[in-house]
């Protein structure tokens, strides 16, 4: 187990290095410098700006310097907001995005797992078809459609909840969380249905039933443990999706989180901001994938066994 964790951590390092390198050079070869928007700037000012941001050094030196900054947790200054660093922008946006992602995940896991397990209990009956059709709808309805439709119906027509904002009015977190979570709820429903279907046909479930255990004990105690393994493995990659989903949801609901910063930085060509947030996102995603890998091995006796056998 320990060796497995170490080897996975060691695998994550080249991934991060590749991310940083690709992003860094992509941003540097991008046409149009960060200061080309200001037209009537005298050359001396540009020179001073370039010196300030180390743009006058050779590119390999800039790259090494950037790596050095990263190792020290510095993501660099923002070109767009002078005097502010990417770190400050991340520190401002991250708690909001994290909170949104947390609620969305809560929505996804509760609705998704319940629907999936419920459907798996009576496969190929209406109890299966109805939640699974709803799940298909959730998968096919992109968040940028789901969000506005929810706003239109519940925010504008019924006026039950605020249409935008974050933490200003009571209830304004409900729609963003549902918008972001619904697609994952649908995926989780399909995954947990598949997992449960497989587990419920195993011998040990038959044994549990033969012992005369009540059905809910069989499902919740014996079935769920094995049935949810695919769900746990999906949570890591889902997190990456939540981040990019937050681009759309934060834009729709005007939430001042990281996703909205990122999209704005993309439009403003705020290169250091893009670079910094990309590296930051990538680190988070690699970390979560790592975590979900380790947890899935940890909770799955079969995988643990394979590991001990020396694979």
């Amino acid at each position: 187990m320990f060796r497995f964790i170490i080897s996975r951590v060691l695998q994550a390092i080249p991934v991060l290095l590749v991310v940083v390198t690709i992003t860094f050079f992509l941003v540097r070869v991008a046409p149009g410098g960060p200061f080309s928007a200001e037209k009537a700037v005298p050359p001396e000012v540009i020179k001073a700006l370039e010196a300030r941001y180390h743009l006058d050094e050779p590119i390999w030196q800039q790259y090494l310097g950037y790596l050095n900054d990263l190792v020290h947790g510095e993501f660099g200054p923002s070109f767009r907001y002078p005097g502010r660093t990417v770190n400050e922008l991340i520190a401002g946006g991250l708690p909001i995005t994290a909170e949104l992602a947390f609620y969305a995940m809560l929505v996804a896991v509760i609705i998704g797992v319940c629907a999936g397990v419920f459907a798996a209990l009576k496969p190929n009956t209406p109890q299966d078809y109805i939640p699974m059709s709803a799940a298909m709808l959730g998968i096919c309805m992109p968040s940028f459609l789901m969000g506005p439709l929810l706003v239109l119906v519940f925010g504008i027509w019924f006026e039950w909840v605020p249409v935008s904002g974050w933490g200003d009015l009571p209830g304004d977190k409900i729609l963003p969380a549902i918008t972001l979570g619904s697609g994952y709820a649908a995926f989780l429903a399909r995954l947990s249905r598949g997992g449960m279907l497989e587990v419920m046909s195993q011998d040990y479930i038959r044994t549990a039933r033969a012992k005369g255990l009540p059905e809910w004990v069989v499902v919740l105690k014996h079935g769920l443990r094995g049935g949810l393994i695919p769900v746990v493995a999906f949570l890591g990659p889902a997190f990456a999706g939540l981040l990019s989903g937050s681009f759309v949801v934060e834009t729709i609901f005007q939430i001042p989180g990281l996703g909205r910063f990122y999209v704005q930085a993309a439009f403003n060509r705020d290169y250091t901001m893009i670079l910094g947030t990309t590296v930051f996102f990538a680190t988070l995603i690699v970390l979560f994938n790592l975590l979900s890998d380790i947890v899935s091995v940890w909770i799955n006796p079969k995988l643990r066994h394979q590991l001990r056998e020396g694979k």
């Binding site: 991934v15 992003t23 598949g194 681009f247 993309a266 990309t278 990538a282």
Partner: protein
Amino acid sequence: MSSSIPAAEILEYAEKGTSLWQDAWIRLRKNTLALFGLGVILTLCLIALMTPFIAPYGYEEQNLLLGAAPPSAEHWLGTDIFGRDMLTRIMYGSRVSLMVGFIATGVALAIGVLWGTIAGYAGGRVDAVMMRIVDILYALPFMIFIVLLMVVFGRNILLLFLAIGAVEWLTMARIVRGQVLSLRRQEFVEAAVSLGLSRWTIIRRHLIPNTLGPVIVYTTLTIPSVMLLEAFLSFLGLGIQPPQSSWGLLISYGVETMEEYPWLLLFPGLTLSITLFALNFLGDGLRDALDPKASRD
């Protein structure tokens, strides 16, 4: 549903000996939802191809006096704020959306199948290196990279194809490699080797055709995710640029005015959702038909 095929027909097939494809077609035909999906997709493709001839109005035709009007006998899906016919705009948008879906998937297909076959057939160190590259790329946050690419290199439709295709080939490569690994040891490949066929001929004539089943299934499931990605980028303003139009772009315009003119959001949204629905149903159906062993997760 299961009894919809006459016993005589099954017997007839059984006597002739059914090929993989006939067998799959029999199974697919029993799947109403998948057939519905196939029908929708074929109809949409036909409409997209014929749009310049059958669109009720011109693409740029405005009617400023009319403005944004709800659906009516003249404009079945209403008009936008410039009085442009929504049905016409959705039809022209379908050309771009479907094209992105098919071409980007084609790019992914080409890279993935080649990569997977070579890795699987070569085996050993080549395989290890090639699959490690796939592993590393897998871990990259690609959504973010596409946004980055679109920002850095401008919002170019060709680049969009490449960027999306470059993301989606990874799973394809893994699937194909797995297939090739198991095929490689089979007798017909050994026979081909002993006949003195070149490696390339073996790959082209014997290995790739045998991986077609899973590849077709996965391709069908990739198209909707590619279309979703395009719509997502266009919605953010980083994908298709006006005057071209795609469903994602129409949705993002619709959102701006949804309070006053909800039909401008509803109709493009509905079109996109139905298309994605149909493709997913078709993909699931094909998976059941071509690859009965694969579990439905």
